[in-house]
Amino acid sequence: MRYEAPTTVNAAVKLLAGKSGLAKVLAGGTDLLVQMKTERVEPDLVVDVKRIPGMRDITAKSGGFRVGAAVSSAELGEHKALKKAWPGVVEAANLIGSHQVQGRATIVGNLCNASPAADSVPALVAAGAVAVVAGPKGKRSVPVEKVATGPGKTSLKKGEFVEAILLPKRPPKSGDAYLRFIPRTEMDIAVVGVGVNLTLDAKGVCTAARVGLGAVAAQVLLVPEAAKALIGSKVDDAALDALAAACSAACRPIDDKRGTKEFRIKVAGVLARRAAAIALQRAKGK
């Protein structure tokens, strides 16, 4: 195995596009090193992107934020402005693993690892985040819900890697929240994850919403029917019931060692209600 630490995006792309063997991007390493240890993945080349300028930065951009690929969850949690604008995204990133894991893990890595149960992804999907992809043919933008195509699979081509995530400008009276179900209080992979993002008008009526569901299908789902249940309502009990039903209906889960189909379908609805209630309070400024 070879280790390289390029100092420009172009050098990284060239290495990743190179002919020989399996090349993997190394940012936080909290997925890659586990996969290497369990021999699920045996890379021929590891490309460490942390020494490329800009990778470790959070910058304001177009009223929103640009989060570099090597920004750790911990650093995300310490960024006051980002936390204020996107508390749901930040709390999701700060649920990945332990404090130790958050000291290295990145939301870009979380996205590109393409686990259906990734914690930050439902919140990123709900936020309408966009991935900036660098590759041999230049840069392109991809909505985050289009990055994963199945467990462990992404829509990235050879030589491409995600260099940053863009979070859009936040309209006033907006709030987002992420909740997950795990059997313990920490450390577990999400059995169900729900990200809810909504915007209210001056009268408290929901004018925009996005709902992301994790761990209930082969990839994280954007659930338009769930958003429809909220839009036009004051997010009252009836709207929350409809939201819960839409989320349960959208689930296409499996039985596995972390949960049964029935359990996931039921709990998706329960969490959607609770996450929407939190997002509502945040949108109201509480």
Partner: protein, 160 residues
Amino acid sequence: MTMSRVHVSTTVNGDAVEYLCEADETLLDVLRDRLGLTGAKEGCGTGDCGACSVTIDGRLVCSCLVLGAEAEGHKIGTVEGIANGDKLHPLQRKFLEHAALQCGICTPGFLVAAKALLDHNPNPTETEIRFGLAGNLCRCTGYDKIVRAVQAAAAEMRKG
């Protein structure tokens, strides 16, 4: 598959250190097998137990999830660097006074994690301590005396 070795210059517990390591060696492997610093332990190798906890530039991490190569130019902190010569850190003293260790295998990880917690938040509530240390598994104590030791150390450190 041939390995190519990486030459690394880094700082461990304040001392300049150089080593050669395999590209796929973890920082934990390097600390234990090349630098003789066996305080960090491998409890799982997959970031689920915290027994390998160290700090990189003051940030708490699992050394089993970091390549030895990634340490280049950074400052690594391990349990061996917590005491100041023969002066134990308040956390170390309180762990002993409060019987916060039985077998002791998780203790280095807990000390590194607790120190990082208190460096960041000198006045944590019990809940903040429990969630702050959730990445460190202990099988012997049930955590009760560990939490009390951290509370006692924090109180002493706040007095200055």
